[in-house]
């Protein structure tokens, strides 16, 4: 094969992948443009398309594929419409963050449904026989199916373009993505169009899933694998721009494919590098004209603050009590033999710290960091690498983790905080994915295995404790290294909480709160809003790094999964679940989430489904989080009187912020 045909074949392969991306990104982008919804569940709708087709085509045989290609996307479209009607619709008018949360919950639900119906492993989905052969065209042979994908993709893209540019439906959609309220003012019920748009986008994703499923195979992780590249494409092309989605999709398909063949090292990195460069140079993306409707949304972030049914003294007492219980746990565990509870608590403490760190930017600075696991993961890697190469001391390792993460946060913030909102969310996600893909590439990070079996010394300069050897018997109770680790962890987490509280109560915190309430007013008074947000982000990055470092030190290992975007999603879930904008809320959220996950997963197989459903209900009905429940109950006309009689509701504003 000559070089030219080899390149031509790679280009065609790139177009095949690109077409799949176009179909996926077009729907995502239209949905964002029109409704401001960042739909994380788009990847799962894509997977659903593939599985429906798989289920339809299998028994039919022969022409089954073609039947499936029509029926499956329609089914996915109907599911998309149902999702919009039943869930997404309820959140219009709130900050786009809530749609991220909601659709994240939907990911858990749909994914769990897929695995429980079709199993966890990948399954072959045969290409229709008529297309399953090579064909000679332009002097070289190439798979007929791949040509078919390019044709199907082009036809659908063209059809979508005609729909958007030549029909009344398309005109209303375009107008709606520019100025929704004005469309309403004209007397057009745009909400009806939302449902159709959501269904249409879902159906396109379904088609993409089918063609890719037959190209490779169908597996429950296929949605997870494409959603992040699809976001990158949408951002690269310009949020809400159909042309951008097409150009971006083809471009990313080509770049990925060519990189895989010609510069394997850059595979998986190049796309994110490109996205970061494009966003820094032209924040609106290649084809975007404005940063998208997302910038002038009027929806509010609903803070957890206002749980103030309990007086601050009561809350402080509860805090002391909680710490007291945590101190006693190892003894109780030993006495009762439930030692596993200590491990669970360690997990909770670390996630609580991670959630606390996120809350400093999310709840206090109003910045949606969608890639916060970047700091958690990098903190873990930094501390393990320090432990291996520099010093076995946990103190040194943690200091390195915090400093490295704070520095990265400063850099990322420097690039992205100028323009906040969706742009910031996407750039943090881009950086997190960049690091995630990077750790696979290097030997010093242990590649896909990560780094294991690290020794940690709890001390400095030879003075301290080696948890592997430490043991003091105290009667019935053995005070061993594991317990030392537990107390160390507890001390660090409580210490971080107190530090964060100090910070929030200091003038720095008051300025952040002023910014959160009205950015314009704060900058009018003369505060450098960007600088304050960046500082908050640096502190937050450092604390998240500390959380990651603590986990690595505690467990003696680090792996690429620490950097996976699912962590970023989960920590946002915990923060909102507990109640953002309060420091204790997210920590409570972390506790409830981790414990629920742990308990549910040991009793039921469909635990993800249960968590997903609970979470979706929570986002819709209790957006201010768990800490708002006492207030909600107290305000309830009938239940309320009981609570109100027993507690003072006199304190309000002053106490809301810590």
């Amino acid at each position: 094969m000559s070089v030219a045909t080899a390149v031509a074949e790679q280009v065609l392969n790139g177009l095949v992948v690109g077409m799949v991306y176009v179909l996926l990104a077009a729907g995502l982008s239209i949905i964002f443009g029109v409704m401001d919804v960042i739909n994380f569940a788009h990847g799962e709708l894509f997977a659903l398309g593939a599985y429906f087709a798989f289920a339809i085509a299998g028994p039919l045989g022969g022409a089954g594929f073609w039947v499936a290609l029509v029926v499956a996307p329609l089914l996915v479209g109907v599911i998309g419409m149902a999702i919009e009607r039943l869930t997404v619709k309820r959140l219009y008018g709130r900050d786009p963050l809530y749609h991220i949360l909601l659709t994240f919950g939907l990911v858990l639900i749909i994914n769990d449904l897929i695995t429980s119906v079709w199993g966890k492993s990948a399954q072959p989905f045969p290409i229709p026989a008529a297309l399953d052969q090579p064909i000679a065209l332009f002097g070289f042979t190439y798979s007929m199916y791949n040509y078919a994908i390019i044709v199907i993709g082009s036809v659908l893209a063209l059809g979508t373009w005609l729909l958007l540019s030549r029909t009344q439906f398309g005109m209303i959609i375009r107008a709606g993505s520019e100025d929704r309220e004005m469309v309403r003012n004209l007397g057009i019920n745009i909400d009806r169009y939302y449902t159709l748009t959501f269904g249409f986008g879902a159906a396109l994703a379904g088609v993409a899933g089918i063609v890719l499923g037959a190209f490779q195979n169908v597996s429950p992780t296929m949605g997870n694998a494409v959603i992040i590249p699809a976001f990158v494409i949408v951002v690269l092309g310009g949020l809400g721009s159909f042309r951008g989605a097409v150009a971006g999709g083809l471009f990313v398909g080509l770049v990925q494919t060519l990189a895989r063949t010609y510069t394997p090292f850059l595979e998986g990195l190049i796309v994110f590098l490109l996205m970061i460069v494009v966003l820094v140079v032209k924040p609106t993306g290649l084809f975007g004209t404005s940063i998208g409707a997302g910038e002038h949304h009027d929806g509010a972030l609903l803070h957890g603050a206002g749980g103030g049914v309990l007086s601050s003294e009561t809350r402080a007492k509860l805090g002391y009590a909680a710490v007291g219980v945590l101190v006693l746990v190892p003894f109780l565990a030993e006495l009762t033999g439930v030692t596993y509870s200590v491990t669970l608590l360690e997990d909770i403490l670390i996630w609580a710290l991670f959630a606390l760190s996120l809350d400093l930017v999310l709840g206090y600075a109003g910045l949606v960091s969608l890639g916060h696991t970047l700091f958690y993961g990098v903190g873990a890697y930094a501390s393990v690498l320090t432990l291996i190469h520099i010093s076995p001391s946990v103190f040194v390792a943690l200091v390195v983790a915090v400093v490295v993460c704070a520095a990265i946060a400063w850099f990322v913030g420097y690039l992205s905080i100028r323009v906040s909102g969706v742009f910031f969310a996407m750039i943090t996600l881009g950086f997190a994915e960049l690091f995630y893909n990077a750790v696979f590439k290097f030997d010093f990070t242990g590649g896909s295995d990560g780094l294991f079996g690290v020794d940690v010394f709890y001390g400095l300069a030879g003075l301290g404790i080696d948890p592997g050897e430490f043991e003091i018997p105290l009667g019935l109770f053995v005070f061993d290294g594991g317990i030392v680790q537990y107390y160390f962890l507890l001390a660090m987490v409580v210490g971080s909480y107190l530090l964060a509280r100090r910070l929030i109560r200091a003038p720095f915190g008051s300025v952040l709160q002023a910014i959160r309430e009205s950015e314009d007013r704060a900058s009018f008074i003369g505060y450098d809003v960007t600088a304050y947000k960046r500082r908050a982000f640096v502190v937050s990055g450092g604390l998240a790094g500390l959380a990651g470092g603590l986990f690595a030190a505690n467990n003696g290992y680090v792996a690429p999964s620490f950097l996976h975007w699912i962590n970023s999603g989960e920590v946002i879930v915990m923060t909102v679940l507990g109640g953002m904008g309060t420091l204790y809320g997210p920590m409570i959220g972390a506790g409830v989430f981790v414990a629920a996950e742990d308990i549910l997963s040991s009793y039921i197989d469909q635990w993800q489904l249960v968590i997903g459903v609970l979470f979706v209900l929570f986002v819709i009905f209790v957006p201010r989080g768990l800490v708002s429940l006492p207030r909600t109950v107290a305000d309830h006309p009938t239940f309320g009187s009981v609570v109100r009689d027993q507690t003072s509701v006199t304190e309000t504003e002053v106490e809301q912020h810590d």
Partner: protein, 241 residues
């Protein structure tokens, strides 16, 4: 006398916990031009938005053509026959002039004949030349005309204009003013919000002056134009200069 086309009674309205309107009363008779004037931030736009329903009034009533429309959503209000030319015009920047008018024609009342898109565009000499230009590429004056055309094509019973001359060159202001008179002569009922007192008084049959969310003075336009004391007190202007 017949009942007014639009009647606003004790309207209280605002954003979140801030009350902007503190009990506004006003009437618009069929076929008349009524203007609402007042200083910056007194609640003129809020009044229009509360009538339309994009801001929900806390109390009071809005009656249109004999029906209570206080609780209606903006979609429903528009479908009842009220069209708004909003502050800052808000033409759809990515849509062509034609499309901007077409989308206006989809809205509004369902039960009536509406003029065709071409008919309306031809009424505006400076739009007719730009059929296929995008909204974003028009001048301020052209955008204003487009916003009016977009509202008119739905053949509204009541046209509400929010500061249609704001930021326009004096010659264009004249054009807009002429258009308003022309429309009124054709029988369109108009509720006009203006900061340009001269324009407001020239165009109007009847004037309401709003201050701090309340109507503080009202009267036929020529009477108000005479009463320098009122103009000076509530608007800080004197027409004599």
């Amino acid at each position: 006398m017949t009942d007014p086309l639009l009647s606003v009674r004790d309207l209280v309205s605002g954003y979140g916990s801030t009350r902007v309107l503190q009990g506004v009363n006003l009437d618009v008779d069929k076929g008349s031009v009524v203007t609402l004037i007042g200083r910056n931030g007194v609640g003129k736009t809020t009044t229009l938005r509360s009538i339309l329903g994009s801001v929900k009034p806390t109390s009071g009533t809005v009656t249109f053509d004999g029906n209570d429309i206080t609780e209606l959503s903006p979609e429903k209000t528009a479908q009842a026959g009220i069209a708004l030319v909003p502050e800052e015009r808000r033409v759809f920047p990515g849509l062509t002039v034609r499309e901007n008018v077409e989308i206006g024609r989809i809205g509004g009342r369902r039960d009536i004949e509406k003029p065709s898109v071409d008919e309306i565009i031809d009424e505006f000499e400076n739009l007719a030349r730009h059929h296929e230009s995008r909204g974003a590429n028009l001048s301020g004056g052209e955008q204003q005309m487009l916003a009016i055309a977009r509202a008119l094509v739905s053949a509204p019973d009541l046209l509400m204009l929010d500061e249609p001359t704001e930021g326009l060159a004096p010659s264009i202001v004249k054009q807009v003013q002429r258009k308003i008179t022309e429309l009124n002569d054709e029988g369109v009922t108009i509720l006009l919000v203006e900061q340009n007192v001269q324009v407001a008084l020239d165009a109007a049959d009847y004037v309401y002056i709003l201050d701090k969310g309340q109507v503080v003075h009202e009267g036929p336009a020529d009477e108000v134009a005479e009463s320098e004391e009122v103009l000076d007190r509530y608007l800080g202007v004197s027409l004599a200069e």
